[in-house]
């Protein structure tokens, strides 16, 4: 029986979301059609939008469904950038998700953007003073600020409201990538929007909904230039026939989060803390990454560096033992990169290469933690022996 400890990559779909998904797929009708069947599909879609809006503290009209988190982030960043022309500066912290990093680098290469990377401290948090200095240097040429709400690798929470407040003083729009935070940290879009944030990206499959749908929560007051042109659906911002069934399943997962995340968060955090303590006891040299203060990072995230080991080797050995974890790295061709997040946090290449991300979620149990802790000593011993064999010695 496989032990799944990679909830940050994707978390199992809720059974009730699956059944709602399957039922909704049987509904005939394009929600943009005028006839009754179209109206019925539209009703399901808009009910879903309302429920998703409720989970994010926004108005339903502010929910723009997308094909996932990556599209939402692209729409948020590129859309705001183009709408803010001729301003060219984009402020972005180091260690962001690739959906953000590659998007701003693309804007730099093709659209004349000037990207300013903001430093992270050793726990992965941005320095507000640096943000303030960057804004003060010339507040008028900043197109937007984009930042993660919680880091997807190490789980550190960012001071989103404080950044938004700094930006609001100069009317600078802020895009928040809340894909990793959604479902773990309360998101109150109304408060964020009042505080200066313009757009928030989320994804359904991180909270027990299906892969292939996400949303950009876009303020009524913000304008973006669309990525996709066509039928003009969703405020002309995101053309394309809307996926009713996926929206319905997304809504079921969003509703299941409930009003109060604290109970489930406390349960998962307790499991996580036991996991971290157990790994520390088994491997005293291990480095625990991210904010050591429990209130400063996601409850389900445990992120380690095993000095002298390849995260890659540990992942393999744990996989063979039936435990799914991650090195937290982007795997384009399946070629693992040393964690760019740890590098942005000022960590050495050796620490970045020895990174292992273990993430818990709704279905995680004490038995999962037991299984991991039982497997870690042998896996670590072998991985340490293999060391950094694929690296050039002395570098």
């Amino acid at each position: 029986m496989a032990v799944y400890l990679d909830h940050a990559a994707t978390t199992p779909m809720l059974p009730e979301a699956i059944s709602a998904y399957v039922s909704a797929m049987a509904v005939v009708g394009n929600p943009a059609s005028v006839h009754s069947q179209g109206q019925n599909a539209k009703r399901l879609l808009e009910e879903a939008r309302e429920q998703v809006a409720l989970s994010l503290g926004s108005d339903p009209i502010e929910i723009v469904f997308t094909g996932g988190g990556t599209e939402a982030i692209n729409l948020g960043i590129k859309g705001l950038y183009w709408a803010r022309r001729p301003r060219t500066r984009i402020l972005v912290p180091g260690g962001e998700h690739h959906a953000t990093m590659d998007t701003v680098e693309w804007l730099e290469q093709y659209e004349g953007a000037v990207v300013e990377w903001l430093p992270l401290d050793s726990v992965g948090r941005i320095d507000l003073a640096a943000v303030e200095r960057s804004i003060a240097a010339n507040p008028h040429d900043i197109a937007l600020i984009t930042l993660l709400s919680a880091n997807n690798e190490v789980g550190t929470l960012q001071p989103v409201a404080e950044v938004a407040a700094l930006a609001a003083a100069h009317g600078i729009p802020v895009h928040v990538d809340a894909v990793a935070a959604y479902g773990h940290v309360p998101i109150d879009f109304r408060a964020l929007n009042d505080g200066g944030a313009s757009a928030v990206s989320v994804s359904a499959h991180k909270i027990g909904g299906p892969v292939g749908i996400g949303a950009l929560v876009l303020s009524r007051r913000a304008s973006v230039v669309p990525l996709l042109h066509g039928g003009g659906q969703q405020r002309q911002v995101r053309s394309g026939t809307q996926d009713v069934a996926a929206a319905v399943a997304f809504a079921v997962a969003a509703t299941a989060l409930g009003d109060d995340l604290s109970g489930e968060n406390a349960r998962v955090a307790a499991l996580r803390d036991r996991l971290v303590a157990g790994v520390r006891a088994a491997v005293p040299a291990v480095i625990v990454n991210g904010d050591p203060d429990a209130g400063g990072r996601l409850p389900g995230t445990a992120h380690f560096s095993f000095p002298g080991c390849e995260g890659d080797s540990l992942l393999f050995l744990l996989d063979v033992a039936g435990i799914s974890v991650s090195t937290g790295s982007a795997c384009q061709a399946g070629v693992p990169e040393p964690s760019h997040v740890l590098r942005a946090m000022g960590r050495s290449e050796v620490e970045a290469r020895g990174a292992l991300r273990i993430t818990l979620g709704r279905t995680s149990t004490e038995a999962d933690v037991d299984a991991l802790l039982a497997a870690v000593p042998a896996a670590h011993a072998r991985a340490a022996r293999a060391g950094l064999a694929d690296r050039v010695p002395g570098r």
């Binding site: 393999f316 996989d319 399946g334 072998r382 694929d390 690296r391 050039v392």
Partner: protein, 386 residues
């Protein structure tokens, strides 16, 4: 699993032989190409996907191991450096020596594996005392024992070549098709995997800036100028661009490339005939001969697809400082090992042509690979005045 047909069939056969098998694809570049182009059969994202699809069909787990940093240093940079030094290296041998049966094997053993199996066409036999011997594959046309000549007894003990007894490549392709592998009809890879378009000359010219120098005859007279000594290969006839013809009117060939003086030596075809080759960097494949200092009969092969030639081989002492590998006090420059300075001298029964320093000579006893040496020096079969 490179993504080619051979390693896919090899993996399937290992599973059927009852082994617990994991598919490993080596990432040898940080920036792999997306799609397969030209003559390459490895190293792109498409190849990695081909390998994974084969692993899916076989029903084994599959992982990508990143050896790009080691590969760059030990194989790519080595290739460039050797070429710049006027030698003709074989990067596939270097990869077997330093990556596949070294870094990869060591990592695999450390992680708890017992052996590395590859799709090479070669055979491993075990003698009465339990020692491993490397032999040619049954299908001599596909035999790859030459490029495995660098393996030591210890490496052989942890290597498996499930294709070694297959009569033909066609049979491997047929088996792949029967197993439903998409790679059954994938073209064989040839050329050098890290040179995408197969233009080795052009690729090297970008990395080793050429400098003009003299073209000399065997007496040391200057015959002309060249645009860069490294661009010449021993045995080359075309592209010398020497204004004056030879006195006897016969075509001239590159006899020697001297990187230190940036000169190229040319002469008649007869002078290409090599009567003796020698190198101080030699290894034994499996059990070493008991008395290599006594001349013994063997066959020698100097290229992956050359015919083996009957020869006599012998390990002889070298005066200290006589060559670069075992220099003063007998310290091996490459490994730091102290051992008496020796070299393996191989005298073919018939002169060899197309031999250049940097090439590997593999010594066989019948079908068995006895050892190999990197050629440091060659001795012409004919004198200067011939």
């Amino acid at each position: 699993m490179s993504g080619g047909v051979d390693s896919a069939v090899a993996a399937a056969r290992m599973v059927e032989a009852g082994h617990e098998v994991v598919g490993v694809h080596l990432a040898l570049s940080r920036m792999p190409g997306t799609l397969r182009t030209g003559s390459r059969g490895c190293c792109t994202v498409e190849d990695s996907m081909d390998a994974q699809r084969a692993a899916n069909i076989i029903g084994i787990p599959y992982y990508v191991w990143d050896f790009s940093e080691r590969f760059k240093l030990d194989v790519v940079d080595d290739f460039i450096n050797e070429y710049a030094a006027g030698r003709t290296p074989n990067p596939c041998m270097r990869c077997n020596e330093r990556i596949k049966f070294a870094a990869l094997l060591e990592k695999a053993l450390d992680l708890g594996f017992d052996a590395v199996a590859t799709g090479h066409y070669a055979t491993i036999r075990t003698d009465a005392d339990g020692n491993r011997e490397l032999h040619r594959a049954s299908a001599w046309a596909k035999d790859q024992s030459y490029v495995l000549g660098v393996l030591t007894q210890d490496q052989l003990a942890h290597s498996m070549f499930p294709l070694g007894a297959t009569p033909s490549k066609a049979e491997v392709r047929a088996e792949a098709a029967k197993r439903g592998f998409s790679v059954a009809t994938k073209p064989d890879s040839y050329d050098i995997c890290f040179i995408p378009d197969g233009d080795t000359r052009g690729w090297l010219a970008e990395r080793v800036p050429p400098a003009t120098g003299d073209i000399l005859d065997r007496e040391g007279n200057t015959l002309g100028r060249h645009e860069g000594a490294a661009a010449f290969t021993v045995g080359q006839r075309k592209g010398l661009q020497i204004g004056t013809p030879a006195a006897d009117g016969k075509p001239r060939f590159v006899l020697e490339v001297r990187p230190i003086t940036n000169t190229v030596v040319v002469g008649p075809k007869e002078a290409l005939a090599i009567g003796e080759i020698a190198g101080s960097k030699f290894t034994w494949c499996g059990v070493a001969p008991a008395h290599p200092e006594t001349a013994f009969d063997c066959t020698v092969q100097i290229r992956a697809h050359a015919d083996p030639v009957p020869a006599v081989a012998q390990v002889v002492p070298v005066a200290p400082g006589e060559n670069g590998e075992n220099g003063e006090n007998g310290v091996n420059g490459a490994t730091g090992e102290t051992r008496p300075a020796t070299e393996l001298v191989i005298t073919p029964a018939e002169p060899l042509t197309g031999v250049a320093p940097g090439q590997t000579a593999v010594v066989y006893l019948g079908t068995r690979v006895l050892g190999q040496c990197t050629i440091d020096r060659t001795v012409s079969a004919v004198g200067v005045n011939a």
